[in-house]
Amino acid sequence: MDKNININVKVWRQKGPKAKGNFETYALKEISQGSSFLEMMDILNEQLINEGKDPVVFDHDCREGICGMCSLYINGHPHGPDEDITTCQLHMRKFNDGDTITVEPWRSAGFPVIRDLMVDRTAFDKIIQAGGYVSVNTGGVPDGNAIPIPKYAADEAMDAAACIGCGACVATCKNGSAMLFVSAKVSQLALLPQGQVERIKRAKAMVAKMDELGFGNCTNTGACEQECPKNISISHIARLNREFLKAKIRD
């Protein structure tokens, strides 16, 4: 049964991108284990506001694990200790009475801190703008099954498309590499007929943008795959390498 617990939350506070940050520890009483992690953060902020202090800034939006806005490095894991979920889907029943929970922002040169736990992830948008799209004349709605797609391709593409672009892969990577994200975005389009037109251009453009933005070189540790809330496989990274090398050899 869920009960109420008393916890300490050790949160990273940082006034701005240039400011020097530090940890602050806050005590929270009678937190229901049935509440979500972000609800706990809301309660913390309510408490801070009532005390006349600045609330903790953190990213969140849909709170159902599909938008990719929430982040947070909780007790040494992106999206917390539970597996295959985002921070907003994490529940307080994963923690015990008396725990001190350490909450940090994503830390990677590619994701500079804006304030407190909020980081700037526009680098991902720039990578998508470089080639993570298809240019097609949409016209009317096509008939169902008008374009034949093999089952394995549909499955793989769907698995890749599950990536919500939260940045947990970069946050956990010892090399600050964005390869899992980029590979998922390249993979989902490379597998489908709709993505063929820009296939060659896409792999080159997205990898070039990723390098330009200062993300690291993937060394295949596989940590990203383990921490990914959407279970994106590193076999997509192999596909990206393949796509990129084929495109370059064709030049």
Partner: protein
Amino acid sequence: MSWLLKSSIGRKLIMSISGLFLVLFLMFHSLMNFVVILSADAYNTIASLLGANWYALIATGILALGFIVHIIYASILTLQNQKARGSNKYAVSQPQKNVSWASKNMFVLGTIILGFLVLHLIHFWSKMQLVELMHGHNYAAAGYHDPTDGAYFIRELFTQPLYSIIYIVWLVALWYHLTHGFWSAMQTLGWSNQIWLPVYYLLGFGA
């Protein structure tokens, strides 16, 4: 071809190809050394076949180049990755399940291997190919043992228990390096998917 040096995947391709080349050499080297267990004479025949002959010298040159490229790029990639990671470290960081220690410490393992490699060159190369190169067949006059008598050098070294232990440590480090290195090289070549990945893991361990 400048993309090889400019793009992250290009640089990794260099690591991958040079690494696989070194793996090939390692297989040849270990196969050759295995002969000494069967017959010292046969081993010495191979040693004299190689020696300081022109083809052996060219191969040694290419091999050295392979090592140098692999080491230089390992250093470049490691430095770039540290920069990409940033100077802010996590206060709490926990290891992930199913992520091997070797995969996160390839540079450390590589440095250990390089250190022992220098020792290995002093033990064997400097007494064999180098002596032959410098003194030709007049090695005896210069006060050296027959450089093609490889079996003698092996016997000399491994009768000292200390060196036997050092060499075992070295091989373990090398083995760990390869458990990650081999499948990682295949992954970088893009020659991997969910079917082949476990096979590469296994081959890496087997090697």
